[in-house]
Amino acid sequence: MNKIFSVVILLAVLVVSSLTRVPSVSAEEAKMVGEISKITLAADGKSATAILKDTKTGDSVPIEIKDELTLDKLKDKRIVEGDEIRCKFDKQDGKNNSKTFVKTAGC
């Protein structure tokens, strides 16, 4: 009886864990160089969207930015429309989430 009870509990745990398992979706990393054609800051200041015109293809690529450092640079205009950017981003769920977003020009 005890053995049957243990097996039932084990099976129940397995069923529950399989139902609660979140399917993993791996993000695809991409990179590009492009000129910023538009910057849109969210009203709460916690995110922004920058449209980059890919220097290779000419495509307009929207990049979602959430890291504080880059947002700060957008707010105080250290990065502005017209700047050329080297960007690494993750493609996930139809969005391009910025990982690095830096100007190509140094000194």
């Binding site: 160089v33 000129e35 220097t55 290779k56 450092l69 700060d72 640079k73 105080d76 205009k77 250290r78 502005v80 050329e84 080297r86 830096v102 100007k103 190509t104 020009a105 140094g106 000194c107």
Partner: protein
């Protein structure tokens, strides 16, 4: 007792309010009424400051240097005039200017002295009333500087100048320079973000930044003179020397075993275990970008991706055409083991005297013609006879920022192991000494105890 607590709390609030009010810039009202006209406005309350600023490294981009070999004692050195292969250019030979049009007909204005707190109407290091009024006080001191207003433009008379944000809005938000005020220039030195020194002053990368420290908390400025260390490759200084011991003292660890190391192992060795950024460049080969301009071929890593090299350093520097790096030894009584970022750059050397030649970036940036850049630079410097041959220069950069959190600092087994980080042989230890140094016998019981306590 309750009354005493309420009074104490009330006084605490009063003190807090008083303190926060005292932090507001006292000249705010004056600026609001009169507007901001540049340094002359600042000098209403800070007379003489502009003139004094012209004597500092931020303005001169050079200073006398007393710890580097093969320099003249009466000459000043720095970004103004040095040539080495991280940049291969300087304020003089790569002065701010409009470059020739590239293949696509595009041009741009660029130069080393975009990172100078003036307006380029006067040169780096210039003096006099005109220079005093050219200073951009707000780029460092304003918390609301509109950086889009600071850019190189060509005036109608053809002169290239740097515009500044001299708005009342910017001037009414005066305070201590924040990290971003410093990073405007110091982040992108060497040709790209985080290239030169490979460190990021972010919460994730540096423990001081994580605790809310800003640059000037450690580089505690006195009359615009900045304390600095003795980086083998950062020569220009304001004459004030600083070290970690300035805040942390010579015996900062609770563990005496660590404190015993401080006499011969620099703090940075254990506490800055990684570096990053550009590790090699080739100025004899410029690569074409999709925008039609060229840039020097560069090999780069992210911050925290590169292992440092470790060497004895007695705070004096070997300076030759093919090597710039630390001097020191185990036996000189003055050296400690420091970590360094090693960088190697290829550029043109003068076959006639062996010296490194500099480069004006204008032509190479537009067309990729590197020898044209060398010719321009030689012309600017009055070098009539030269024969450019490619060669390499190795440079050791100090690694003094990006202090890792305690959990990531080096511990016993990182160095005292056969496959440890330190090459004891190269550091001058004998075979028998090395046998002991790489044996876990030194720390086995201690580390076992710690391990068991943490399980």
């Amino acid at each position: 007792m309750l009354v005493i607590r309420y009074v104490a709390a009330f006084l605490g609030v009063v003190l807090l309010v008083a303190t926060s009010q005292a932090k507001e810039h006292e000249g705010k009202e004056y600026i609001q009424e009169n507007g901001y006209k540049g340094p002359e406005t600042c000098e209403e309350c800070h007379p003489g400051t502009a003139k004094a600023f012209l004597e500092t490294v931020h303005w001169k981009h050079a200073s006398k240097v007393d710890y580097v070999d093969n320099l003249k004692a009466d000459q000043e050195y720095g970004m103004k005039n040095r040539i080495y292969t991280m940049c291969n250019a300087n304020d003089i030979i790569n002065n701010l200017k409009e470059i020739p049009a590239n293949e696509a007909g595009k041009t741009k204005i660029t130069g080393c002295n975009t990172c100078h707190p003036g307006d380029h109407t006067v040169d780096v290091g210039s003096t006099g009333p005109e220079a005093e009024q050219a200073i951009d006080c707000l780029i460092c001191h304003s918390g609301k500087y509109d950086f889009s207003k600071r850019k190189p433009v060509k005036r109608d008379d053809g002169k290239v100048v740097m515009t500044q944000d001299r708005s009342t809005e910017a001037a009414m938000n005066i305070g201590r320079p924040g990290i971003k005020n410093c990073m405007v220039c110091h982040e992108s030195a060497g040709g790209g973000a985080l290239f030169k020194r490979g460190f990021a002053m972010t919460k994730d990368a540096d423990v001081h930044a994580a605790k809310g420290f800003i640059c000037v908390d450690c580089h505690s400025v006195k009359n615009h003179r900045f304390p600095t260390g003795k980086d083998p490759n950062n020569w220009a200084n304001d004459g004030i020397y600083m070290t970690c011991a300035g805040c942390h003292n010579d015996k900062p660890h609770k563990d005496e075993d660590y404190n015993r190391h401080t006499g011969y192992v620099a703090c940075q060795t254990c506490h800055i275990p990684k570096t990053g950024g550009a590790f090699a460049k080739d100025f004899t080969k410029w690569v074409k970008l999709d925008n039609g301009f060229y840039e020097p071929a560069t090999l780069n890593k992210e911050v925290n991706e590169t292992a440092p090299v470790y060497a004895w350093y007695n705070l004096t520097v070997s300076n030759t055409p093919h090597f710039i790096g630390p001097k020191g030894s185990r036996s000189d009584g003055k050296s400690k083991i420091y970590p360094f970022k090693v960088y190697q750059g290829k550029a043109y050397f003068n076959k006639l005297d062996g010296q490194l030649l500099g480069m004006d970036f204008a032509e190479p940036m537009a067309t990729g013609d590197t020898l044209a850049g060398v010719a321009c630079a030689a012309d600017t410097l009055g070098i009539k006879k030269y024969e450019p041959v490619p060669g390499w220069q190795t440079t050791y950069f100090g690694s003094n920022h990006q202090v890792a959190p305690k959990s990531k600092a080096l511990t016993c087994a990182n160095c005292h192991a056969i496959n440890g980080l330190l090459n004891f042989k190269e550091l001058g230890y004998g075979d028998k000494e090395i046998e002991k140094l790489v044996s876990p016998a030194i720390y086995f019981d201690k580390v076992l105890k710690i391990q068991q306590e943490n399980e």
